[in-house]
Subunit: 566 residues, 2 copies
Amino acid sequence: MKQSRTFIPTIREIPTEADIISHQLLLRAGFVRRHMNGVYSYLPLAHKVLRKIENIIREEMENIDAVELSMPSLQQMELLAETESGISDRSDLFMLTDRSDRKMALGLDQASIITKIVQDEIKSYKKLPLTLYQIATLFKDEKRPRFGLIRMREYMMTNAYSFHADQESLNEKYKDMMNAYSTVFTRLGLDVRTVIANGTGSAGNKSHKFMSLSEVGEATIAYSDASTYAALMEMAEVNANYVLPNDSLKAMEKIETPNQHTVEEISTFLDIAPSKIIKTLIFKVNDDFVAILMRGDHMINESKLKRALGTTAISLASEHEIKDVLSCEPGSIGPVKLPLDTKVYADHAVGFIVNGVSGANENGYHLMNVNPERDFAIDDYMDLRFIQEGDPSPDGIGVIKFAAGIDLGFVTDIGDDISGTMDASFLDEQGNANSFVMGSYGLGISRILAAIAEQYNDANGLKWPKQLAPYDIHLVTVNIEDETQKQLSEEMYHLLKSYRYAVLYDDRHERPGVKFADSDLIGLPIRITIGKKAQDGIVEVKLRSTGEIFEWQREEITEKLQPFFG
Amino acid sequence: MKQSRTFIPTIREIPTEADIISHQLLLRAGFVRRHMNGVYSYLPLAHKVLRKIENIIREEMENIDAVELSMPSLQQMELLAETESGISDRSDLFMLTDRSDRKMALGLDQASIITKIVQDEIKSYKKLPLTLYQIATLFKDEKRPRFGLIRMREYMMTNAYSFHADQESLNEKYKDMMNAYSTVFTRLGLDVRTVIANGTGSAGNKSHKFMSLSEVGEATIAYSDASTYAALMEMAEVNANYVLPNDSLKAMEKIETPNQHTVEEISTFLDIAPSKIIKTLIFKVNDDFVAILMRGDHMINESKLKRALGTTAISLASEHEIKDVLSCEPGSIGPVKLPLDTKVYADHAVGFIVNGVSGANENGYHLMNVNPERDFAIDDYMDLRFIQEGDPSPDGIGVIKFAAGIDLGFVTDIGDDISGTMDASFLDEQGNANSFVMGSYGLGISRILAAIAEQYNDANGLKWPKQLAPYDIHLVTVNIEDETQKQLSEEMYHLLKSYRYAVLYDDRHERPGVKFADSDLIGLPIRITIGKKAQDGIVEVKLRSTGEIFEWQREEITEKLQPFFG
């Protein structure tokens, strides 16, 4: 393509609207333009990259027998109402009314519409399993669109849904889909972590996310510094391999701690480490009070508590409720001599405290040298805390670090969350109606474009990996008015095209400085410059990734290029 | 693809919701499903055909240096307000509000958004011309969606826009685009007529439509039975090659015609042909009255009148206004002795009436033997009537016939209609600001899918042309439980795939009748049946287009298939 005939509006200055590097560079290199807050146009270069990403996805989906279809963006409100559970927050929906006052919404996903289609057509286990996917534009009325293509209101995604007769079949597809998505990221050249994520429903079905580590990510990932282990911070299990201190047990002692309530206050007042303090929290679980014991330096992870107790009906007891039961304030609660009917659960770490400190269930007093099992009973030990940096990795290899991550994709076992609500069922081998067991999978295509730009760049611009570059080669003529240079350029352009290279040919009447700056900004893998040495049949070849420069004879170009695209 | 793994829900009965053949067959063969009125899902087979159509469009667009980009569906209301002229009917827009109460619309086209993008980036004639296009989903709140994929509320289209420094450059691109679109239709195998259409604006800029002749079309096309000439009925010019009758002029005579007003009444009352009657219509043009003369059997085409007089401010005078000026009723007006300041324009045909009849400008009277030029003056002769079946074709070849047509595409010179309103300009060589001269082009992709189904079918189902078929070959195993048949089928499947044929392999445990009926419905170009003769290594090959059947040895398959896909 001749650059004079296409549309690549580059910008020299850093646009004020952009605060992250991918957004700045995609604007500056003429890949995207903003239409509204969170709504962008993909200009010709970005469009080409998006199509390459799509094609990689299509190939990997076909490899695992996923079938592409295309569902509408306009969706019946009635249908969405049936599956309210599928949509986390109704205020995220763009809603509209047609000329007959019928309510519709713009698709935020295709979970309900695809379940409806399958439900209408598939009546027997014989036609299962079935995996369908779509590459589509989705719409979300984001509260705070930002970071360019990272958090948008209109964006491209691929969503896949699988339908199964049983859990075993879903598990198999889940694994296939994990592998396929991993392969997609490998082929894209994107560094991602497969991260254990929070599933849907109270059961907390299995779910994984694919995240690229990035400062601008909005989620915290806990990952091992020595293995592939990674989880959303709130999902990371904590290994219970604490060491019991070799101290002898001392006698319990009640001491005055006037106006000392928080762990920090007690720790300073008594000059002991927070890790020696037993923090007691009273939760209301359904209608019962439950005491939860945590080490003073640990934070309770309420999602873990909910999963451990198998219910979501959990809330911290109010000060008022606590006073009713214990006749003391929350800052003075302790595990010793709690009312008999109160269940006591402790985080594993509490079991390794020797001679600890706890509240005395009496305002203004704490107990010293408290020891679990000797001084109070514990109904069960559980994993209840957030993992921390420095903790051993749950897989036993390495140490946990935290990083921010951008969510690029997910695989989720949604079981019968949607098919159950919609009464979408099939007949099994025995003729019984069962709800479809479903998996839901997705990759954020616009976001992947941003993540690649975020990963592949330097001070001068973008540096596209060759499998995604909008063109393979940037052919730059230093002075297009010079007949020799122009002639050699045209010859090279046609030669390279005949070898099936995608060539962007800068035939513009611009100063060389402008051309080189644009070329670096755009960031195609190889630049071939036709300058003064054209008269000797010599061209300059520069690799964008390393900056290496070669001078080649015109006759050897095609042969010498080959290894770079092999 | 194994048929057991994909999703092709066929239907035996004719669905009641479908009243045209393409819609019936696309539903029955499992290509589409309705989600709402005018909103459809494209199931896997339709999706494949759509992608083939898109690819043909892309190739032809690239050939004429049109560049693909992708603009959002969510569009700023403010921007649309600027270019109200671009949108024919506001009630067709789907409008919505975001969570901050900002008004938006779903794209009905991309005219204003693309003009905004180009206006922001292109300041100089040096970067023109530029042609951009998009393949996108568009939304239209149709009053009456119908005919399946023909008139939808959410549909796929490609829209192209070209930007030029002058009319000459646009004219060139207009021609290129006409040719490219014609090539697209030829490659699609679609019978279309290139039809002269009504342009935008009062100037009536040049415009053409691409229409397939079909009973379900909503526009009337006037076409030549012997040449390629075709025009929207209201746009067809009428040749003025009438023959002057060889009669001698008789003396004018005033006769009583009590209560006879219409052409029909006068024709019966006087027993003369309507073609001998001169019909006089009084129009108000801006603030003046103008008399228009038509032959009694011809219908006035007001669009032609507007173009001829160069204004859209034209309306029929009211009875009240006519009485004020002529003191007679509309049914008694005639061209003789009209008030002096009334301009008189006549359709060409009027000049060939000898001894005609007209109103006498007096209630209850007409004039016999009226002759133009002798009895009244005519300021100008013009082409003012609708063409009729049987008229000579305007290009001089053949005779005009009428047919209904489906609008599949258009090319239009929109001049500065949009760029003028939006103040979108560039600096020319002299440094003067000029509005971009623009062209607008479009192809209805969903509608093309329907038009192809409408054209390629028989009583048993669809008959895909090979360049568009979702798969090349339908490999049907008569009895998949028969080990010999199954083994040969698997062998053929892998062999054909290795030869790069796209194969749909019916490996289902269904009765042969069901399989053959489904295969005819789906309509792939070639069916290869593996049945009882599998034990002798013989397969049956059937061409869907002609019904021809061959029996081939397994070893000769690939060689003998080649000519069909050459």
